[in-house]
């Protein structure tokens, strides 16, 4: 008789150190409740614009079902290079400085692995997307947390960054417009960060997946790589999920200097091989003809933003004014409940799903993430229910 096996002993140590996503727990809890209004979703409520879907359907009818270059379709990389040159004045060579990936999640993972040796420190600015810390740990790196504060409008300051840097620091991950706070950073704010980055000779991984969802239409978004001297120090990550309502396509890209992209491509080549061709064709169509539809969606999010932020403030949940993404991040400290108590009781008693802020790091403690990527009617109903819940405390 062969010896019995204990599979758990084969699981890598790092897996026991990485906690499961706090968001996942709320997914499981919400699944058992009827009549749920969800402010928990981090994806547009729009269906991908028809012309993008139609381009994908046409490509399938034409039999375009093959692998592509590991880097992605050249036509897509050329479109991306043109797009960034026109929009932000930053040029990338489509042959060697752009890598098409399956979602920003993959781009992030590959970027971190490409620059991290065991023991390297990667600074993560929180509150932030839940994948940053685990991705650093999977790569053998050490995440170093900077907690941003409401009184600084959740912006990273140059002083905070400087204080977190050690000789082992390799890079800092920034994400503006930010998930979950909706905070943005203006050009001057980013210039101060760029000075520190240069002075201490570190890299920046800049996740700008919400760049198009910036509600200051006049000043717009500042691309970190477009700052003087930052192009070579930045791994720019972006994708199609949020701006073009293409979450299920899993299509994104990284832009950086050839050495970095080449290293990232090695990992991508041996794991993902290439992003799906159909999604890449949809992305080309989005870049070429998607601006009007995208702006229509952005203006719609903007109106919902006003409604939910004002509504939460009226209820007495002081809400920071988000200038980007599609999340409101109210403080629930006045209620005396913790974020998790508030979110769980709100879900059980009023059937409104939100995500507790501490899921996005300790800096989110005392806050709640409310996605307003849902219809006006749902937001109005949710606000009524949240109001009733707070009144009943």
């Amino acid at each position: 008789m062969r010896k019995a096996c204990t599979p758990s002993k084969f699981v890598a140590d790092v897996m026991n150190k990485v906690p499961p996503s706090g968001i996942r727990r709320y997914f499981d809890l919400a699944s058992g409740i009827d009549d749920v209004i969800s402010l928990g979703v981090g994806e547009p409520d729009y269906i991908t614009p028809w012309h993008i879907r139609e381009a994908c359907i046409h490509s399938l009818e034409c039999g375009e079902t093959s692998y592509t270059s590991n880097y992605g379709l050249l036509e897509l990389r050329e479109s991306l290079a043109d797009h960034f040159s026109a929009k932000y004045g930053v040029s990338y060579n489509p042959d060697s400085e752009i890598l098409v990936t399956s979602g920003v999640s993959e781009a992030l993972d590959v970027a971190i692995r490409a620059i991290t040796d065991p023991g390297d420190e990667i600074i993560v600015v929180q509150p932030s997307y839940v994948a940053y810390v685990p991705s650093v740990m999977f790569a053998g790196g050490v995440p170093v947390i900077i907690s941003t504060k409401l009184e600084n409008n959740f912006k990273l300051t140059a002083e905070e960054l400087k204080a977190a840097i050690t000789p082992k620091t390799k890079a800092v991950i920034i994400n503006y417009p930010n998930n979950p706070t909706g905070a943005t950073m203006g050009r001057e704010d980013l210039e101060a960060i760029a000075d520190v980055v240069c002075e201490h000779d570190i890299m920046v991984i800049s996740d700008e997946v919400y760049d198009c969802l910036t509600y200051d239409y006049n000043n717009g978004h500042t691309c970190f790589a477009s700052l003087e001297g930052m192009r070579e120090r930045t791994i720019l990550l972006n994708g199609f999920s949020k701006a073009y309502a293409m979450t299920g396509f899993r299509l994104a890209y990284a832009m950086a200097s050839p050495d970095i992209i080449s290293a990232m491509m090695l990992i991508h080549q041996y794991s993902m091989l290439c992003a799906p061709i159909t999604a890449q064709i949809g992305a080309i169509e989005a870049l070429r003809n998607g601006t009007d539809e995208m702006m229509r969606m952005v203006r719609s999010y903007d109106r919902r933003r006003h409604l939910i932020v004002n509504g939460l403030n009226k209820i007495g949940l002081e809400c920071f004014e988000p200038k980007g993404a599609f999340y409101a991040f109210p403080s629930i400290e006045s209620t005396g409940l913790t974020s998790e108590e508030f979110a769980e009781r709100l879900m059980n008693e009023q059937h409104v799903v939100t995500i507790p802020g501490n899921v996005f790091g300790d800096a989110g403690t005392g806050f709640l993430r409310c996605s307003y990527a849902t219809s006006l009617e749902e937001i109005e109903k949710a606000l009524e229910r949240i109001g009733a819940f707070v009144d009943g405390l």
Partner: protein, 163 residues
């Protein structure tokens, strides 16, 4: 047009009954400012009319619609305007469009029965001096009207929680 004005127009296009208080809540303007801008938009003709899109089939109405293509002759120095003005005064005529291509004009005509529409075309439209030829297409079913899809679609559901 500035962004705030565009927001107001998009709100009203989505729901013509949306009140100024609600538009104010959605745009960050005051209700007075919304009222002032809406008045300006009405006065300048940007807002033409507040309209309701009705699914008459679902309401059980027996109206019949037809699209009439017209080939017309024009006299030198006289354009389409005099003919078009005669056509759009008929209450049966719901829309008049000038077209490029094989036909010159397209009308949408409504009536209680197919016979009524057919007689209207034969007696009132075809007999006009400039009208050389008409082709009548009866509308069998309307799937989309003014950008609104007029039948139930399967609802695409999302997960209640995602990253």
């Amino acid at each position: 047009m500035d962004d705030r004005t565009r927001h107001i127009l998009e709100c009203l296009e989505e729901d013509a009954r949306m009140g100024h208080e609600k538009i104010a809540a959605l745009t960050g303007l005051t209700a007075d400012e919304v009222s002032k801008r809406v008045k300006e938009l009405e006065d300048s003709g940007v807002i033409r009319k507040y309209k309701t899109v009705i699914d008459w089939d679902l309401a059980g109405d027996e109206n019949v619609y037809a699209i009439i293509e017209l080939k017309v002759s024009l006299e030198r120095t006289i354009g389409y305007q005099p003919l078009v003005e005669r056509l759009y005064k008929f209450p049966e005529v719901r829309s008049v469009r000038l077209l490029s291509g094989q036909y010159d004009l397209s009308l949408t005509v409504s009536g209680k029965t197919m016979k009524e529409v057919a007689f209207f075309v034969a007696e009132k439209i075809s007999t006009l001096e400039q009208v050389q030829h008409t082709t009548t297409h009866f509308v069998l079913k309307t799937y989309k009207e003014d950008g609104i899809i007029l039948y139930e679609q399967d609802h695409v559901t999302r997960l209640p929680v995602t990253p």
